[in-house]
Symmetry: C2
Subunit: 228 residues, 2 copies
Amino acid sequence: MSAPIRYYYDLMSQPSRALFIIFRLSNMPFEDCVVALRNGEHLAEDFKKEINRFQRVPCIHDNGYKLAESVAILRYLSAKGKIPEHLYPKYFVDQSRVDEFLEWQHTSLRVTCAMYFRTVWLEPLLTGRTPSEAKIESFRMHMERNLDVVEEVWLEGKDFLTGSALTVADIFAACEIEQTRMADYDVRIKYPKIRAWLKRVRQSCNPYYDVAHEFVYKISGTGPQAKL
Amino acid sequence: MSAPIRYYYDLMSQPSRALFIIFRLSNMPFEDCVVALRNGEHLAEDFKKEINRFQRVPCIHDNGYKLAESVAILRYLSAKGKIPEHLYPKYFVDQSRVDEFLEWQHTSLRVTCAMYFRTVWLEPLLTGRTPSEAKIESFRMHMERNLDVVEEVWLEGKDFLTGSALTVADIFAACEIEQTRMADYDVRIKYPKIRAWLKRVRQSCNPYYDVAHEFVYKISGTGPQAKL
């Protein structure tokens, strides 16, 4: 039997949480390698040299093979038979529908939710400066443009983003959207479909969903049940 | 024999150019469905309903199956045997290295090059307003942070981004970087490795590289050979 993969992650990172939940749901053993982003561990020269040349998480080492980028990692492990087919389809047509979401999210949902979180929560924490209302409003508008697409296009007539059952697409999306809780944004107010879908995703992924979001709940001061 | 796929694209769009070059290099027949973004054709209600619910290009229709997102399209067509293995590897370990780049680029190289192009070229054209020097400088800094990674990490000790031969990763990256020519940015000045690599990519992809970039060359007022 080969050694389990080494998984480098921080549960404060959205894609780190997504892979953590996916690995647990897949019963895939991994060696727990927590990287404390808050301490800048990823910025150390050693980390760049030994762990990940891009100085980010998540990443994996599989018996010496180093791979970064959450979606690339997911596909690699799926090809190795580590991810069950119901989470990431093997049939190429079904897989392409999940891929369509995974590719769509980067420059739309991911960038805009992350920028909102950064502007409203992270930067004030790091710099001590409060962003202007106009700046917050502009970032909220960009984010909501993409949340509109999730509500009106992706969730149109379906229980999950790519069909009637949970896939990795839902897990990546939910982890991204949950991040905005910490910036005190409540996605559930304007978006009833997203509200109901988040509840389904959490139920389908628990107990791992709540484990992965423990810090998010704590920082946002909302329990896992809050507003669901 | 089944009908060729319908390819909806505009050569002003970076990923549209990338797929166009990949399809030509793969000798894959397709039905040419040009969408004029400059006329807002993608914003029409009909386009949303009939062509692509996300109102973007590129996208394909394959015998009724509609798929968006360039990387998802590439993977779907590769699974159908339409893309040669040297451009997108079938062996999962080699494929993961190409995937790592395709996933990395979205929120790094793609977003920042596109934002620079948008700020310096597109927005002044649409609004008649010139951006401030400080704004241009800020967008240039973000872009160059990612060009640094291409120069120092991706191209370190290699002729192409993921090894010694051209893959789709190089084509996607080159199309993104070429876009900045139109905003009068010359990537070749600060980045000798990118300069030499772009030359190799163009040579490996011609005559299709120049066909795809005809408008880019025209708008930027530089010939294909310029500065290479």
